[in-house]
């Protein structure tokens, strides 16, 4: 989503008249690097860069050539702005929920013994082994008016709740589906935190809670940032889960785009929506980078 247009460094870098063994060795290595990158770059060029350019062009293309009509349409109809708003609301909420649920889980996972960690990890990864569609249908059964939850509530005489075809359903389904991404990202950072830092903190007079707060939490922040970015990016473009578990008022942008392609066959308008989503998301991250600094993602450990 926020990949840059891949540059194609296929043309050999302008080699000056640099001679000498060292220079030629450096050149050999870089030509090998280029060679190894080539397949991926070609793939990206054909299946990513070209479609991307095509979408941009379509979003500006009308019957009479260049037009801003598609973008104008988005601004004219408040319903589309509302969809963008809902999309970001849901993505933000899901990110927050996965973080709240995933952080303690990853913490336990990182501190657990081999056996326990393996078991927890298996539970986390197990959900990946089943098709997302199947899992979403399973949620429909669980959340539905005659589903497990409502049967249980009625049995206890607590009435019933509507969890399907509304915002709750979307949030539950998406949080469930995206939780592993959050947990795995957090875990990769947390498992790299030397436990001796915590021992040192305890030795220096911090209770276990304060050791966590002053030492572990700050050191795990790169995982929080990374996991949140990943889940947010995936959430913004989510399709199947909101489509199946959401109601009419929980339409996310991907669903609207799909409708315009499938039903309206309006490629130009769908393209405009996609580009707006891309621009908004990128702008969001640039702002985030300004405020928090994405660099913290890459320079955490001493």
């Amino acid at each position: 989503m926020e990949q840059r247009e891949p540059e194609l460094p296929l043309a050999p870098a302008a080699d000056g008249a640099v001679e000498g063994r060292q220079a030629s060795r450096g050149r050999n290595r870089s030509s090998l690097t280029r060679f190894l990158l080539l397949p991926a770059l070609v793939f990206l060029a054909i299946f990513f860069a070209y479609p991307m350019i095509d979408i941009v062009m379509r979003s500006f293309a009308g019957p009479g050539g260049f037009t801003l009509a598609h973008y104008g349409q988005v601004i004219e109809h408040p319903v589309y702005l509302r969809v963008f708003q809902i999309t970001f609301e849901i993505a933000f909420t899901v990110t927050l929920l996965t973080l709240l649920l995933g952080y303690p889980l990853a913490y336990v996972l990182a501190g657990a013994g081999k056996l326990a960690a393996g078991a927890i990890m298996a539970c986390v990864l197990l959900s990946f082994f089943t098709n997302i569609l199947v899992r979403t249908y399973a949620w429909m059964i669980i959340l539905g008016p005659e589903g497990v939850i409502n049967q249980l509530l009625r049995y206890e005489g607590l009435g019933s709740v509507k969890l399907l075809y509304n915002r709750y359903g979307v949030l539950i389904g998406m949080t469930y589906a995206l939780l592993p991404y959050m947990v795995l990202t957090l875990y990769s950072v947390m498992s790299g935190i030397d436990r001796r830092f915590l021992q040192a903190a305890r030795n220096l007079g911090a209770s276990d809670w304060r050791a966590f707060w002053h030492v572990f939490l700050p050191l795990s922040l790169p995982g929080v940032v990374g996991g949140s970015l990943l889940v947010f990016i995936l959430s913004v473009g989510y399709f199947i889960t909101p489509r199946l578990l959401g109601g009419a008022r929980d339409q996310m942008i991907a669903m609207v785009i799909e409708q315009h392609v499938e039903l309206g066959v309006n490629w130009g308008f769908a393209s405009a929506l996609a580009i707006i989503l891309l621009v908004l998301t990128t702008a969001g991250f640039m702002l985030y980078d300004r405020l928090v600094g994405l660099k913290s993602l890459f320079e955490s450990k001493a």
Binding site: Q199, A200, R202, N203, G205, A206, V215
Partner: protein, 375 residues
């Protein structure tokens, strides 16, 4: 329990006592029945190879590893149920464990912040601690900007800034090069004297243990083998492990022929050669024993008769090793190789591999050990 520093002066260090300390992980026993009294202000070293239980013992004192049995007393108070943060022990970790997300000043301030000290006082204390470890003005650096030796100093400053009465050190100099290590050894001793702390120091480096400690506890297979001053351990090791681990030693096995009233015993080696050794305790004719002789206690002797109280054996030089301040000669006797270490370079000036020489040593420097050396 009068330590070498027990002159009765009021001091800040606290006595530490380990009573029957044991740690078992399922079937494997890491520490078995460790009992040790450390006097207030004493510098004691737990010395042993990896897996000897020395670090586990230290971790039990610090409160990170729960003991399976036994009790730890600090200032004569049992601390088994006291959580690590309330034991008031300074600790320097092997890897320093400086918090990477904090500056040097924040690291050193951490124990004071946890104790709720006021800001201004913390600043003063941090500056004083940095002064003490000779890193003044390093407050705002990040740990990763420092060299290994500097990180070591910051870790030390952080461990002593809250004036603990006992300082634990887990192989603190392990990752420094030799020159820096020797320098830091002197620094640590200086600071220990200045603050008059009890120090429990863990290392596998016997030189470090010998130079720094008031007393050394040699550990092997989860047990304390021997506790004593560096000279006592070096001169009177009680078993082959200690003799071999602290310094180098020649081991000569044999059978006791006679025990004489002058404090020496006559021992016959398997080859039929006979030597005399000093004996303590119960040695009886017919016992098989192992004698330990330090290489520097052996001398090369030119042809000629032995002075009567000395042992003199003959052999051939099989190897000459120059190690700078001394020279080692490996002397091959039929079924035995003795190592001779001498600082007198004139002595062996003309000696060459293959020459026949005499090896002479005094019975007084021949220690009979209780146990046979491990293979």
């Amino acid at each position: 329990m009068a330590g070498p520093r027990g002159e009765g002066v009021a001091r800040r260090g606290a006595p530490v006592r380990l009573q029957g300390l044991k740690k078992a992980y399922g079937e494997t026993v890491a520490v078995r029945d460790v009992t040790l009294s450390v006097a207030a202000g004493e510098f004691i070293t737990l010395l042993g190879p990896s897996g000897s239980g020395k670090t586990t013992t230290l971790m039990m004192i610090a409160g990170f590893v729960p003991e399976s049995a036994g009790e730890i007393y600090i200032d004569e108070r049992p601390i088994g149920r006291v959580p690590p943060e309330r034991r008031e022990l300074g600790m320097v970790f092997q890897s320093y464990a400086l918090f990477p997300h904090m500056t040097v000043a924040e690291n050193i301030a951490f124990p004071l912040r946890m104790r709720g000290w006021p800001r201004g006082e913390i600043r003063q204390k941090v500056a004083a601690a940095l002064e003490m470890v000779k890193l003044p003005g390093y407050e705002e650096r990040a740990p990763r900007q420092l060299s290994g030796g500097q990180q070591q100093r910051v870790a030390l400053a952080r461990a002593i800034v809250f004036e603990p009465r006992v300082l634990l050190m887990d192989e603190p100099l392990g990752s420094l090069d030799k020159k820096l290590r020797e320098h830091m050894q002197a620094e640590i001793k200086r600071i220990q004297r200045q603050l008059d702390m009890t120090v429990i120091y863990v290392t596998h480096d016997q030189d470090e243990a010998l130079t720094m400690s008031d007393r050394i506890a040699v550990m092997h297979q989860g047990r304390i083998q021997q506790v004593g001053s560096p000279t006592a351990l070096y001169d009177e090791p009680i078993n082959a492990f200690v003799a071999d681990f602290i310094g180098e030693s020649n081991f000569v096995g044999g059978t006791v022929i006679s025990v004489d009233a002058d404090g020496t015993a006559e021992v016959r080696h398997a080859s039929g050669r006979v030597f005399r050794a000093a004996w303590h305790g119960s040695v009886q004719p017919g016992m098989s024993v192992v004698a330990s002789i330090r290489p520097e206690r052996l001398t090369l002797a030119a042809q000629g008769a032995a002075d009567s109280p000395c042992n003199l054996w003959r052999g051939r030089i099989s190897e000459i090793i120059f190690i700078g301040d001394a020279t080692k000669y490996k002397i091959a006797l039929e079924d035995l190789i003795l190592t001779v270490k001498t600082q007198d370079r004139d002595l062996g000036a003309g000696a060459r591999v293959g020459d026949e020489v005499g090896v002479r040593w005094s019975p007084a420097h021949t220690t009979l050990l209780h146990h046979a050396p491990d293979p």
